[in-house]
């Protein structure tokens, strides 16, 4: 299994190296649309720029935001609350609002109650009120996620350490937790209890049901040397193999990376807080510091299109400067 997109299936010049080079981050979210079970995404900035509405055939749209890291105030971005606000402003400016938001974890930097409070306060400005969460490791630092679970799982029927599923417009959504009980030397982890729940959760679903799985740490081996992967994700994906359309949405690595494997599309989202280096390009995966003027140029657009039956993806990045 390749770690990256390593072949130019579509002959569009996007190989692994080129892909990594053109990756950009932005303090924005991605708009996901589901049409006929196929997901496509565009950045909010691009939608705003185009001034258009959602595709006519859209059955359902939702938005993924990730890694707000409220409380972070270091060089890489001294005002992450502001960039989070900007992301919400973009959502509010959408001509057709998304049905709901998904936040793929790291709401806060240090799991402090006041950081969660700030996040919630800012989130109130968002016109889209339904938000589904999964925790990042930064949200469960000192209490095993107790505070997070009490506050962010009120609208779902969460099991175990906070995993759950729900249905929207014929699409089955599964929120997984892979940031707890991590083992020394290991990666993200789902654990037996959650995996057994997942197997039972999808058992009676028709194979034609579109599946969307979301979790914080990537459910594929993005870069295990930096801990960017989940040790038992293969087992989870095994339960989803029979489905015709599976989309896996993750955060954690603060950059867009994608891979398509069979019927499964993996996608990691940008952060609203700060960028992180491309895999293996820095001594560590810590926050990437860039000059302010460069930061603005990195506030970019990432247009991603998924098309059924194709093995490669179209990714077009452009910045705002």
């Amino acid at each position: 299994m390749p770690d990256y997109i390593s072949h130019d299936h579509e002959h569009d010049g996007i190989d692994r190296r080129g892909f990594l080079q053109c990756m950009a981050w932005a303090g924005t979210g991605l708009l996901w649309t589901i049409s006929g079970g196929v997901l496509a995404s565009r950045t909010l900035a691009e939608i705003g720029k185009a001034g258009g509405s959602l595709p006519a055939a859209t059955d359902l749209s939702f938005l993924q935001i990730s890694d707000s890291h409220i409380g972070f105030s270091k060089e890489a971005n001294k005002d992450v609350t502001e960039t989070f606000k900007i992301a919400l402003d973009r959502i509010n400016a959408m001509p057709t609002p998304p049905s709901f938001l998904i936040h793929t974890g790291d709401i806060t930097q240090l799991s402090k109650p006041e950081e969660f409070d700030t996040f919630d306060q800012v989130l109130k400005s968002c016109k889209t009120k339904d938000v589904f969460f999964v925790p990042g490791e930064h949200d469960v630092l000192n209490d095993g996620g107790k505070f997070y679970r009490e506050r962010y799982l009120k609208s779902v029927e969460a099991k175990g350490a906070g995993w759950y599923s729900f249905n929207k417009n014929g699409v089955h959504f599964i929120g997984l937790v892979n940031v707890l009980n991590l083992q020394a030397g290991g990666l993200g982890q789902l654990g037996d209890e959650q995996l057994e729940w997942l197997e039972a959760d999808v058992k009676d679903l028709s194979a034609s049901t579109p599946i969307v799985v979301f979790a914080h740490i990537p459910l594929w081996a993005v870069y295990p040397q930096w801990g960017w992967g989940t040790s038992d994700s293969e087992r989870a994906l095994g339960y989803l193999k029979r489905f015709g359309s599976v989309t896996v949405l993750n955060g954690h690595i603060h950059q867009v990376l994608q891979k398509i494997e069979g019927n499964v599309t993996f996608h990691t989202a940008m952060s609203t807080a700060f960028p992180q280096p491309a895999p293996g390009t820095a001594p560590s995966p810590g926050p990437m510091k860039v000059p302010a003027e460069q930061l603005r140029s990195l506030l970019g657009l990432t247009n991603v299109q998924y098309k059924q039956g194709k093995t490669a993806l179209a990714v077009v990045d452009s910045n705002l400067s």
Binding site: F72, K74, E75, A76, Q109, L110, S111, E137, H138, L141, N142, L182, Q183, A184, G185, G186, L187, Q225, W226, G227, P283, S284, P285, G286, P287
Partner: protein, 121 residues
């Protein structure tokens, strides 16, 4: 983050604040009055503990300091000592070595980060 210095240690003990960093290695072992003034430092930088393996004498203090812009923790693999809370940038965590033995630990936030303390008599 409160780092337990000798000055505060007695106060903490008197107050019975057990959840502070009274993280003694000794499980069943007793504290020794060896060279307790000696400081053994482990720097956390670029998602790594440095030195990765540290040898100390029983009774000595060991202090971790986080130089990353990312929080890290110090957690005993075998739960042989109380874990640290999340250490933000420049925060420290101190324990006192107890019974001789080998103690492995890791960062529970970034479990690829591992280290070892060897405690000698």
């Amino acid at each position: 983050m409160i780092t337990l210095t000798p000055k505060y240690k007695m106060a903490a003990l008197l107050c019975g604040i057990a959840f502070l960093n009274l993280s003694l290695f000794a499980l069943g072992g007793e504290m020794k009055n060896a060279d307790s003034s000696k400081q053994n430092r482990i720097e956390i930088k670029d998602f790594a503990f440095n030195p990765k393996t540290l040898t100390v004498k029983s009774g000595e203090k060991i202090t971790w300091i986080n130089h990353d812009d990312e929080p890290h923790t110090v957690v005993s693999v075998e739960k042989q000592f109380k874990k640290s809370t999340a250490l933000d940038t420049d925060q420290e965590f101190t324990v006192t070595a107890g019974a001789p033995g080998t103690y492995t630990y890791f960062c529970s936030v970034h479990p690829k980060m591992t280290g070892t303390i060897v405690v000698e008599k």
